[in-house]
Structure formats: C-alpha cells, structure tokens
Symmetry: C2
Subunit: 213 residues, 2 copies
C-alpha cells in the first residue's frame, strides 16, 4: 500500500509537488487545503491554469505575455518606441514598470544564453530583437539582463550581433550611432559598503560616475 | 493598468496565491513555470484537483480520506479493531502509519476544538467517535492529538464525553473498563536536555516512567 490513503489524493499531491520548490509535505498541505474548499472554488482554481495556457498570447513585437496580439505597452502611443529595454522575462518587465522610471518599450528574451543548461542564442528571442532594431526606428537598446555570467554572455552576444548588423548594412539603422547601454551596476541604495561583495564594490569604484551635487 | 501584463495571467496568479503560505511573487513564479509546460501537462495538473474534489471519499468509519466508502485500514481484517487512535487529520494517520508501530484503527477528527477559530465540538467528528465506541467492540482509545492547548482541550472534552456515556449506560461498552490513553509526551529521542523547553522537561520529570533495564 502506498503512503497515501487514496490514489486521487496521491495524484493531486504528485502534481502539486511537480511545481518548483514545492516539496511533498508542502504539496500535501496545499492539496488538503484545496480539498476543504467548495467545489466551485476548486473548479475556479483548476480552470485558471488551463484557461491561462489556452488563452494567453505573446506580444508579436516584444514577446511579453499579453491578452492581445500586441501588448498594451507596444500598442501605446504614449511610450517611446525608439528605446528598447532588453530583459530576460515577464517578471523583469513588471519590476521595471513598477519603478515608474521607464517610458520606452521592451523586448523579452525568454531566457539568457546558458551553455550549462543547453540554452543557445537560437533558443531565445535574439533574432527577433536584431530584426526589430534593423527594421524599426530605434535610437537606444538598454540591456537589462541579470548581472550573472549568463547575463553578461548574453549582453556581449547581443552587442556583437548589433555591431555586425551595423557594419554590414549601416543604412538600415535610423541613425548610424545606435546607442547600446546597460543598466547601472554598483552598490544598492541603502546598503553599507562593508556588507557589499568585493566584486560589486570593486566595479563600483572602477565605473564611478561624475558627482552632480 | 494592472501590474500584470495579462488578465488571464493575473487570474492564475490570484488562484495560486490563494494557497496558504504562497505569496504573490512565488505564485507568479509557479504560474510562469506552468506556462512553460505542455498543454497536456497543464491539463493534467488542473484535472488532478477537480478529480480529487469529485472522486475523493471519506471513510464512513474513521473519516480518513479514501478512494472507497470504507478505507483500507478499516476494511483490513489484520488490524486490531478494538483499539482506536484519535488523530486531528490525514497527515497524522500517515505519520503514525510510517512508524510501523501501530496496528489498530483510527478516528480522524478533522480538527481540534478551538474557540479562538470558532471550532466547537460539533464541527469535528466527536459525536461519531462516541457513537463508534458505544456501539462497537472497543477496548482502548488512544488520544494522539497535538500537544497544544487546543489538543489538550479536545482530549479533555472527549474524555468527559466517554466518561458520561459510560456512567449513564455502562452495558453498552464491551468492557466496563474502557481504557483511555494518550501518546507519551516528553523529551524527544536524540534531544539534549538543555535545549528542551521547560514545560516539556518539567512534565517529563513529573510523568517519569519505570526504567526497564
């Protein structure tokens, strides 16, 4: 006999435990919580995921998750379409939107280049980014990828691809001096220097910026 | 505009975040994980919960979760049906089964008496326990409820109900000396005395047992 008193219970626990970071004990607790809810509530819970999977779109321009073919940010005339911020995933778009500091548009790669995990340039939305830049009216690309080795590799790869496209076919760009920038790296606001890691602190000294009092 | 780029995404996150202990950030991470799975996998995930809710039974005898009207433990002829272990929930049955030290049957209360949370004796399976004891051939009741104030209250309430039933109608019991026991409380195996809390240590001295060398 299995550890579980019921096969349907075990199957539900197996499904819940398939989520990343959810162990079997937690999964059982969550499933028993669901079991205490009404039929309608469990139905709504289950339906939300199948509906998401069926109804979700990816914006044809920036590849962000969207209810429509073109996401509200790409469809907005109040956004600056000449600036594209390149991010890894949907959460990053939400984080940057929450800052209220950015009025351009996005390009969601859906991952970063990671030879260890077998993710190459063709597995993420890099070709579509290059295409977007070469055909569109783009002034600046902001690289806002994670500050990891994989993020750095991806930054460098995109930079090289853009440089190649520019040198082989300069007239396709709006201006010959397409600006490629990356988000500032340094000591986080509110952090004590003594608790900042050496690499971050070292780079923040090398890459110091002019003080504007 | 909402924080989420898509309404179906937001609804899925809302549902995931309705689970206890799952925050909105974790919920988003889990939902995006599901979104990366195949249609069939998401379908299987969602179906497991609706199927559970529709197909699950509660054993008519012990009220444990079961695929059948009578759970395998209550249906087994190899279990000692004269001993009933009273527990709070399904997980407790699984924990005790895993010890391999118990061969009796169970009674799952589905909670403990908690005036703070508005859970009274009528809200949990106490009446059915008393009924089971008075009509059945029961020798011993083992109270295995949590060692909390709520657990103690419930223990005491069940004890009083059984004593009342016994004194008002002694012939309905198999033997007049129905044994009511509770699981041993004391210093956990492997624990240092200096790290054991005072109440546990104090009680373990007061309730010391004979040393059988």
């Amino acid at each position: 006999m299995s550890d579980y008193p019921s096969i349907v219970l075990e199957q539900a626990v197996n499904q819940m435990a398939s989520l990343p970071g959810v162990g079997r004990r937690t999964a059982l607790r969550l499933v028993l919580h669901l079991l205490r809810q009404s039929n309608d509530e469990v139905e709504a819970f289950a339906n939300a995921f199948t509906r998401l999977k069926h109804d979700v779109h990816y914006c044809r321009e920036c590849h962000n998750i969207s209810d429509t073919e073109l996401c509200p940010i790409c469809a907005s005339t109040r956004r600056d379409h000449s600036t594209i911020c390149v991010v890894e995933n949907v959460q990053d778009v939400m984080s940057i939107e929450n800052t209220g500091q950015y009025n351009g548009v996005y390009h969601v790669l859906g991952g970063v280049i990671s030879p260890m995990e077998g993710i190459g340039p063709k597995d993420i939305e890099i070709d579509s980014l290059i295409e977007r830049v070469t055909k569109g009216e783009v002034d600046e690309i902001i690289l806002a990828l994670p500050t990891t080795m994989e993020g750095d590799t991806t930054n460098f790869y995109i930079y090289r691809r853009l440089e190649n496209a520019k040198s082989s076919n300069p007239q396709i760009f709006k201006s010959s001096n397409l600006k490629i920038s990356q988000i500032a790296r340094g000591v986080a606001v509110g952090n004590q220097l003594e608790y900042t890691d050496e690499i971050t602190l070292g780079r923040s000294i090398v890459n110091r910026t002019e003080f504007k009092g």
